[in-house]
């Protein structure tokens, strides 16, 4: 019965939808954007979400979490996706939080996870170095060389770090050995934002969400700040990226649903030539096709979220299936939404264009459709 929501899940879904509508509707994103907010993220709202326990949903209870699963977290992200709400779930909870939960020692977990769950500490996960998500996820030039004191000195540049300019701490992926494309030789580090040599440059991105470039110039980190095993970071990295990919797909699903529902409402109310434009068969058929694609999208997202919770082997394959599909469908639905809204659809006054902008950024984040179809095929052995 993996596709049927439990009562608890339904209650969480309702609460998340209410929170999104009341506390972080699209006007919230607009206020941050048009007010040129310095960080583009409201820590106040993040704290409110933390009070509801959401950043801790997937974290273990012993570290302040709720000990629930990604099925639950997905419902929250889906709700936030509907209002395009800026949040720190991907950066702090799913990427960095998962890395710590999966790879850290007890001390590190104790140090960081409760602060993540409480919303006090924001993390960013610094791994992308190129213009696009690279094959095998692992192309890494950033180098961490071992120092005499047993610590490391990190040099490198990260190209597109979600919430990079907001974070209090980073999980940095750097190479301690091997060639740029080698799976072996990667190491994860916990790096304080305040360390000398760490600089960030906020990027103003088309969806008004948050990403930054992160420069690491001779950043000295202690041996104790290695996350997991030296040189074996890829084991954590693979799992963390799959989780984040699926979580992002859940957020995208929310955006798709909202854009579609707004468009349906428009088709029913907007009149042209004396009839609702939704009575024109060509538009009907396009809407019906979108409906199919969205239903399929919903299924793959739900399945992928549940696969994480069940620790299934097919998580990588489902992650790529979900991201490939959601990327295409989000762009398709958001594009159709703009077109079907007509003239007002391309004005900034209407929200609908915001979904198109978000679709463009989301499809590229953590690998676009072509990347994930390629990976889906590779995982299928062909």
């Amino acid at each position: 019965m993996s596709f049927v929501l439990t009562e608890e899940q339904t209650a969480l879904q309702r609460a998340a939808r209410e929170f999104a509508n009341e506390r972080v509707p699209t006007t919230h994103l607009r206020a941050l954007r048009d007010g040129n907010d310095a960080i583009g993220l409201s820590r106040e709202r993040w704290t409110e979400m933390a009070e509801l326990g959401w950043p801790g949903i997937v974290l273990p209870e012993e570290h302040g979490g709720l000990g629930l699963g990604f099925a639950e977290l997905g419902l929250v992200l889906q709700a936030l996706g509907r209002t395009l709400a800026p949040h720190a779930f991907l950066s702090t909870v799913v990427l960095s939080g998962s890395a710590i939960a999966l790879g850290s020692d007890a001390r590190q977990k104790h140090e960081h996870l409760p602060k993540i769950a409480s919303g006090e500490r924001l993390f960013a996960f610094a791994h992308e170095e190129r213009r696009r998500h690279a094959r095998h996820h692992i192309a890494t030039r950033a180098v961490a060389s071992r120092e005499a004191n047993g610590g490391f000195r990190i040099d490198g540049e990260k190209s597109f770090v979600l919430d990079g300019h907001v974070a209090d701490m980073f999980v940095v992926v750097a190479r301690t050995s091997g060639d740029v494309d080698a799976r072996e030789g990667l190491t994860l580090f916990l790096v304080k934002k305040t360390l000398p040599g760490v600089t960030t440059q906020r990027l103003s991105v088309v969806d008004a969400r948050n990403a930054a470039r992160v420069h690491l110039a001779g950043v000295e980190v202690a041996r104790a700040d290695v996350l997991g095993h030296v040189g074996r970071g890829v084991e954590i990295l693979d799992r963390v990226l799959d989780r984040a990919t699926i979580a992002l797909a859940a957020e995208m699903l929310g955006g798709i649903e909202e854009a579609f529902e707004r468009t349906l409402a428009h088709l029913k109310t907007r009149r042209q030539f004396g009839v609702p434009i939704g009575s024109f068969q060509a538009l009907k058929h396009r809407a019906a096709y979108m409906f199919c694609e969205i239903e399929l999208s919903r299924s793959i997202v739900m399945e992928a979220l549940r696969a994480i919770d069940a620790n299934r082997d097919d998580v990588p394959m489902l992650a790529s299936a979900a991201k490939a599909r959601l990327s295409d469908v989000f762009l398709q639905v958001a594009g159709e939404a703009v077109q079907m809204h007509g003239g007002v659809g391309v004005t900034d006054e209407l929200d609908i264009g915001l979904f198109l902008k978000r679709a463009r950024v989301a499809q590229l984040t953590l690998g676009d459709a072509a990347h994930h179809r390629d990976r889906f095929a590779r995982l299928g052995g062909y």
């Binding site: 029913k268 409906f291 239903e295 299936a321 490939a324 062909y382």
Partner: protein, 406 residues
């Protein structure tokens, strides 16, 4: 599972163990071994008939139908247990029958006691084979525009007209048939639901050749065919209501039958390896076809998950959700896409029609590819499905002039 069901499960297992020959626990591959029954049955495998009879004796060919008409009398829970056990043992279907899948359910609902007694036991036991007389030449998606007339003359209807797209009309014993009993009534009224003996004088059947070659479809012509008045199911004007009830069974059936000879069972990547080869990394050595194969596989996965989601919702008592409306549409469109890929990736080997120079499976695929083009037309075309989704699921308004267009 409660004790009672568990007991029944063991009963079923024992029944299968005792009654189902080993040969009937192998996959049914050859079309000519399909157990269609009827007055002129063809059993090319010696074990087919005994297995059918054993199942029919227990009413297991129609597990949920009342025992008084030969059915199994099981409730849904028990029927599912039986089904699970049959699947678990890999049993072949004991009986394929449009009577079971389509006519029976509406006969139970709309038939008189005498009609049920007369027709249902024969269906359950596979003694009568039925075909469906709905579509007419020129009617297309507009089923209700049917012109075949049935005029009452004493104790019989006299039927004149023709039906098309009737599967196995040349092999069936009876046809359940929509006829216009009152030409003066409005389009959807004045239709009757009539059971016709295919042996009656005045019936001519002509098989239809498709672009894919021979087909089970036929055209049937009625020229002054006399049908006993007692063979009318429901009231004279009630035919359309009954037809719609039956159509809902047909749509479920088409997706079921599609599964049977489905494009899903073909591994696109295996074919691609054979025809396109792989590069040093093991990837199919044709980037754009590989990308499309991945997409088709991915869509198939998502479609299967959606069907599972729908089933789970039904089992959880949430009823089928809006997603069920899309299965016919998406399934057939995806199937067409997969057959296009199969033919395309095979190159010149994918162009064979018959004869030498091609592998047997290649020739089958050519035909299947062409056959798949019909899937988005028959049983409610894709356009009709899109209309249905737009109206019933999305609630988009009707075309002001589009009454009944679905």
């Amino acid at each position: 599972m409660n004790d009672e069901l568990e007991t029944f499960r063991r009963e079923c297992a024992a029944f299968i163990e005792a009654k189902c020959p080993a040969s009937m626990r192998t996959p049914l591959v050859r079309e000519d071994e399909e157990p269609w029954g009827g007055r002129r049955p063809v059993f090319t495998h010696p074990d087919t008939k005994p297995w059918m009879d054993a199942m029919a004796e227990r009413g297991f060919t129609a597990p949920t139908w009342p025992r008084e008409y030969g059915g199994g009398g099981l409730d849904e829970a028990h029927a599912r247990v039986l089904e699970d056990e049959l699947r678990r043992a890999g049993c072949r279907p004991a009986l394929k029958s449009f009577g079971l899948w389509m006519l029976g359910p509406v006969l139970l609902q709309y038939g008189t006691e005498a009609q049920k007694q007369a027709w249902i036991p024969g269906i359950v036991r596979g003694e009568t084979r039925w075909c469906q007389g709905y579509s007419e030449p020129g009617a297309g998606s507009d089923l209700a525009s049917l012109q075949t007339r049935a005029v009452l003359d004493g104790d019989a209807y006299v039927v004149d007209g023709g039906k098309v797209w009737t599967s196995h009309a040349d092999k069936a014993d009876y046809m359940f048939c929509l006829v216009r009993t009152d030409p003066s009534a409005r389009k959807h009224e004045g239709i009757g639901f009539l059971l016709i003996d295919m042996r009656a004088p005045g019936i001519t059947v002509r098989p239809i050749r498709l672009i894919s070659g021979a087909s089970p479809f036929c055209e049937t012509f009625f020229d002054g065919v006399r049908v006993p008045r007692a063979n009318l199911v429901g009231r004279p004007g009630e035919g359309w209501t009954i037809a719609k009830a039956l159509l809902s069974h047909e749509r479920a059936l088409i997706s079921k039958m599609r599964d049977a000879r489905s494009s899903e069972d073909v591994s696109l990547e295996a074919l691609a390896r054979r025809y396109l080869g792989t590069d040093e990394s093991g990837a199919i050595d044709h980037p754009s076809l590989r990308d499309r194969i991945a997409q088709a596989n991915l869509d198939l996965l998502c479609n299967k998950l959606t069907m599972r989601r729908s089933e789970e919702a039904v089992r959880a008592g949430l009823g089928p959700g809006p997603e069920t409306s899309m299965f016919k549409l998406y399934g057939t469109e995806l199937s067409k896409r997969r057959y296009e890929l199969m033919v395309e990736m095979a190159g010149f080997s994918g162009l064979g029609w018959e004869g030498e120079g091609f592998e047997a499976d290649e020739l089958v695929r050519t035909r299947s590819w062409l056959r798949s083009r019909a899937s988005s037309i028959e049983g409610g075309s894709s356009e009709i499905q899109l209309n249905v989704i737009a109206k019933r699921v999305l609630g988009l308004p009707d075309d002001p002039h589009g009454r009944g267009r679905e």
